[in-house]
């Protein structure tokens, strides 16, 4: 039994391992080819070990800071804005889903247009928001919020709609008030869906934040990204930011998953049972 469980675990992570090997392999082959043909290969595709070495390098790259210090300092501003926007968007998304659930009229009026938000590219949205708010930092937060809003709103609404008729009947039989139906059945039932929305929204908020940073210079990952590309400092700052952003994007989704396990103990038990 035990070895079976073990082999199942291996089977589960096997694709991840295979993909990692393939990606690292492809990267290194590319880097070797580039190194043989270009004069400054690190501008196009450095070896992975060079990037990793850059993380730990103590060489001052600009403003008396190492590459890693630069990345982390500028990340602070960006991630804070992403987090603020994400929280705002998630909150509004949940509230809107609730309002749409409570009022069919509102749903019919709003829901079809929600999708439009999703269709506007971030870089098209940014100047519009900037001209409305007139403040780059507000716009950055707002854009992260707008992008987070849609997946949270639609998923939460789907959660409300997933509640079966029998649950309504049950509450009706016991003459439950409307607010009880919401607080005891509909809202708890929507929580897993809400988290699905959060898991999609979190990396989007991070990406949007970085992208919008590039619009105007005053710190932030995106700014550093474009500066490093213009060779104002070591090119490894660029690679570190790329790596760091990818990591934060994936990590932010994971954090939502952990948060969900924290607030929904019943999911934990179900998962534990499935794993066996």
């Amino acid at each position: 039994m035990k070895s079976k469980a073990f082999s199942q675990k291996i089977l589960k992570i096997l694709p991840a391992i295979v993909w990692t090997i393939i990606l690292v392999g492809a990267w290194e082959i590319g880097a070797t080819v580039v190194a043989n043909h270009k004069r400054t290969p690190e501008n196009i595709l450095p070896h992975l070990y060079q990037i990793i070495a850059a993380i730990f390098s103590i060489k001052k790259v600009a403003n008396g800071m190492t590459a890693t210090q630069i990345v982390l300092t500028s990340a602070q501003a960006t991630l804070l804005r992403a987090l603020l926007g994400f929280a705002l968007g998630a909150l509004l998304g949940f509230v809107f889903a609730l309002i749409m659930k409570m009022s069919g009229v509102v749903e019919k009026l709003i829901f079809p247009y929600l999708m439009l938000i999703q269709l506007i590219p971030v870089l098209g949205l940014a100047p519009i928001v900037l001209s409305i708010t007139g403040d780059i930092n507000k716009s950055r937060v707002l854009i992260a919020a707008i992008l987070s809003f849609y997946p949270v709103a639609t998923n939460t609404l789907a959660g409300f709609k997933s509640v079966e008729k029998e649950k309504y009947d049950l509450m009706y039989i016991y003459a439950a008030k409307k607010w009880m139906l919401y607080s005891k059945v509909l809202i708890p039932a929507s929580i897993p869906y809400f988290f699905t929305g959060l898991k999609i929204a979190a990396p989007m908020a991070v990406t949007a934040s970085i992208l919008v940073d590039t619009l105007q210079g005053d710190g932030g990952l995106g700014c550093m990204l474009s500066q490093s590309l213009k060779h104002a400092m070591s090119i490894y700052v660029f690679w570190l930011i790329v790596l760091f952003s990818a990591f934060v994007g994936v990590f932010s989704g994971k954090v939502m998953g952990w948060l969900e396990m924290l607030v929904s103990p019943w999911k934990r038990t179900v998962n534990a049972k499935k794993k066996k």
Binding site: E164, D169, I173, Y174, P188, W266, T269, V270, K273
Partner: protein, 262 residues
Amino acid sequence: MSEEKREVEIKIRELGVTFRDNSGNDVQALTGVNLEIYKGEFIALLGPSGCGKTTLLRSVADLQQPTTGDIHIQGQTPKEIRLQQKFGFVFQQPVLLDWRKVKKNIELPMEIMGYSKEERSKRADEMLEMVGLKEFANHYPRQLSGGMQQRANIARAFSLDPYVLLMDEPFSALDEFTKEKLYEDLLKAWRATNKTILFVTHNIQEAVFLSDRVCVLSPHPGRLSAVVDIDLPRPRTLEVKDTPHFTELVTKVRNSFEGGSV
């Protein structure tokens, strides 16, 4: 059973329910149902699927408005009884809330009623004991088997001390072994609480084994076509199923379907 002084609990008079289906045609789910149910009686509503059993049960529970006729429970309308939270309803599916532990699920109706925390907990413990789920109080529904989930469902329905317990094919999704165990537990709970039970089923044996009277419904249009008294002695154990009288009653019920056997 002394016929003279039995108190009528539910009075169904000329009940008819008509639905309009998707293509705009009227479907008579029920027509001309007349039935008097005594206090503390165990009534089985038996019939093939589509004959209006669920509709009848839902009408009693105020989940469905009758098109014609009326229903009274202790002289009051279903709505009045519902607003006093005096119904217990057991659905075919357990309808438990996944995010609540078993005990909390059983406390739900009491929460709605505004019972105090201590009272809820005490009563829920009694109910858990009654259905044999004491050790599973702190499990989540998904950690339980189908049979155990249905026990929790039954415990919840009993928790508010209802006048009437309405059960819609509660055991039809369970295996034979689990079912037989639950029959005995249900009868035990019924005896201990003396509730009036309306039990919907499409299983003839089940109807005869459990009930005092089997109400036979026939489809197209749904109507009450016979009422068969089940005079098997109580308390009943599963051995009763092996007696000739049980077999006779099953045959009698089967023959009472309009148009012969089903």
